[in-house]
């Protein structure tokens, strides 16, 4: 993962995806709620990884959203393993 990206923009991408998939999703209330509890099915979990892949322009494991099953844990993982603009600045 070589690209430098903004953490906030990644959060926005994930939020947009989840808002379209999950009725009544709000980042404020659900950042630490498990994605399956929010009603995201297994295909949705895998699709979410492609949203992340497209954004960071690098491959991620298809099981990532199962291994890091909340918005916060997912973002922390992606940012820890990549270079974000926030870290660089």
């Amino acid at each position: 993962m070589n690209e430098i990206f903004s953490k906030d923009a990644l959060i926005e991408e994930i939020t947009n995806f989840l808002s379209a998939k999950v009725e009544g999703f709000s980042l404020e209330d659900h950042a630490d709620t498990s994605l399956s509890r929010l009603g995201l099915d297994s295909a949705g979990h895998v699709q979410l990884t492609t949203v992340i892949e497209d954004f960071i322009q690098s491959d991620v494991a298809p099981t990532l959203a199962f291994d890091y099953p909340t918005v916060n844990s997912l973002i922390d993982y992606v940012c820890d393993t990549s270079q974000t603009a926030n870290q660089v600045n």
């Binding site: 009725e23 099915d41 297994s42 990884t49 492609t50 892949e53 491959d59 298809p62």
Partner: protein, 557 residues
């Protein structure tokens, strides 16, 4: 049919001598640069070494579980079991707790004492077992890459009737059953596939199908190896994540035969974005696009053909087929280059079990010519009398590809594998549980007996009606409807649950949507529902592969 080889491993031994440096398998876990190759000489060498270990450990004739992530380890260990006369039981490595419990139940059912796996998978599984707090795995022996043979043990002589492997059926609705596949079953089915697909020596076959699944194991992995060809494969999850990877694999490696259940093709239609750059893909090499192991949907085939014909895909390559673990794999398919062929039947007549062609009605897919070595009968499942040519009945099959029975299940083996016609013709038949008919040597499958709905004396197949619901303009689609029966005051009632697009669900009047749906099914199927529920997307209970769990839907109404 007299197979070219007496045993499957005779073929591999022969190829290791005649074409030692040819690629037997290519595994591409991620991008092109990650591809790994193994030649026939390397493969046979690794398999022989592993087989000697299994013999020296005393596993001859014993069932042994294979728990491997997608890769060469699975192939080597599976073939080593064949060579050593060990009954391989391929299983799924899963992190899903429910699926893992199924794995445990299979280990118990097959009375497995040893597990072949990798060291890293062993650690993962051990943690899951501890989490389950199960005593089921106590006393199991784990054999990994760290175990190696010290003394060379002579390999046993294998008889064609010996058990080769145990294929557990998906069993999404019932307890898993282990199909006993013999060595002769394998070579006979290799020949059946060769004839149906018109495969030549050196054929390149592969795709994303799981290696523990019958279509992935027998069709994708074993068949090209038998034919001195190349097996090309990728992890299934990487296909699910981005389906264009499958098409890219086919294009890059010039794969001429690649199979998937209907949902694989549908996944490409729905999830390959129009904006995605596919300019490097050329699908003109794909001669056999086999569609099998779940009902073949003509709409999916047409949509896939339209979407990908611009990338060299020939619609005539579509190869609807019929088969199952109980027949090793393939029963019918082809001839090649026939593409999608359907006939349209009178729905009302069909609901009374009669095959009558009409210009408008229900479209049924031709699942191809029945293999020359199969004896297929269409039988009334209750009277066990053979049906006449224009009648729908249960598909019964006899022949050398039919497996030996279910492991440790005498009752199901008797009921499922040893059926006899009322007019006993001297054959024992496999009862498939599927309904269909034969026309001009081709097999047509109309549904499953267990799922057949009998409403006021008429027979309905739930998925035909579900398809009508899914085509409704506001329906969420993609397995977003469930049709089933329930009992009320000792009467059988008909119910449906349909998922409606979220925005429409929140905005439009629900009665109006329900009226639309009632009008739609009445027009297409001439049937009325006792209960019709509309719900938001994601409400209908589904299996892990996305199939509707009809029995679980009853609780929703």
């Amino acid at each position: 049919m007299q197979p070219t080889f007496h045993l499957f491993m005779d073929a591999i031994r022969e190829h290791a001598h005649s074409i030692p440096d040819s690629n037997a398998c290519i595994f591409q876990p991620r991008g092109l640069e990650t591809a790994q190759h193994i030649t026939y000489a390397q493969l046979y060498g690794a398999v022989s070494e592993r087989a000697q270990l299994l013999v020296s450990l005393g596993y001859r004739d014993q069932p042994v579980a294979l728990l491997y992530p997608t890769g060469f380890d699975f192939i080597i260990n599976f073939l080593a079991c064949l060579l050593a006369g060990v009954a391989a039981v391929p299983l799924n490595v899963t992190r899903n707790a429910q699926q893992f419990e199924r794995t445990i139940s299979i280990i118990n059912n097959a009375n497995i004492k040893a597990i072949l796996t990798t060291q890293s998978t062993k650690l993962l599984l051990a943690a899951q077992i501890t989490e389950l707090n199960s005593t089921a795995c106590e006393g199991l022996t784990w054999v990994t890459e760290e175990d190696a043979v010290e003394v060379s043990a002579p390999l046993p002589t294998i008889e064609p009737t010996d058990t080769a492997f145990i294929q557990y059926t998906s069993g999404s609705t019932s307890a898993p059953k282990g199909v006993i596949v013999t060595h002769t079953n394998i070579v006979q089915n290799m020949e059946a596939i060769r004839v149906a697909c018109n495969h030549q020596r050196g054929v390149v076959v592969g795709g994303w199908l799981p290696q523990f699944h019958d279509m992935g194991l027998v069709g994708h992995m074993m068949h090209p190896l038998y034919m001195a060809g190349t097996y090309v494969f990728m992890p299934p999850m990487y296909f699910v994540q981005r389906p264009s990877r499958w098409l890219r694999l086919i294009s890059y490696y010039n794969i001429s035969c690649s199979a998937a259940p209907n949902f694989g093709y549908e996944h490409c239609v729905n999830f390959i974005d129009e904006k995605e750059n596919l300019s490097d893909i050329d699908l003109s090499c794909w001669k056999v696009a086999l569609n099998g192991s779940e009902p073949v949907c003509p709409q999916t085939i047409r949509a896939f053909s339209t979407k990908f014909s611009g990338y060299g895909f020939k619609p005539s390559s579509f190869f609807p087929s019929y088969g199952m673990a109980e027949t090793t794999l393939l029963v019918s398919g082809g001839p090649p280059q026939q593409g999608l062929k359907t006939i349209t039947l009178d729905k009302v007549k069909l609901s009374r079990g009669k095959v009558v062609q009409r210009t408008a009605g229900l479209e049924v897919v031709d699942c191809g010519h029945i293999g020359p070595d199969f004896r297929v009968k269409i039988v009334n499942p209750e009277s066990k009398v053979e049906c006449s040519q224009d009648e729908v009945g249960e598909i019964w099959i006899a022949g050398n590809c039919v497996a030996a029975g279910y492991l440790n299940n005498a009752e199901k083996t008797k009921g499922g594998f040893q059926a006899q016609l009322l007019s006993d013709d001297g054959f024992q038949y496999l009862r498939t549980g599927d309904l269909g008919f034969v026309k001009n040597k081709s097999l047509y499958v109309t549904g499953r007996i267990k799922e057949l709905l009998i409403i006021r004396g008429r027979n309905f197949y739930p998925y035909d009606i579900e398809r009508t619901f899914n085509n409704y303009q506001h329906a969420n689609g993609i397995n977003g409807a469930s049709v089933f029966t329930y009992q009320h005051d000792s009467k059988i009632k008909l119910a449906a649950i349909v998922e409606i697009k979220k925005r429409v669900y929140n905005k439009l009047d629900h009665t109006e949507i329900q009226n639309d749906l009632r009008a739609l099914v009445s027009e297409h199927h001439e049937i009325a529902f006792d209960k019709l529920l509309i719900v938001k997307p994601g409400t209908i209970p589904k299996t892990t592969s996305g199939k509707v769990k009809r029995s679980a839907c009853i609780e929703l109404i």
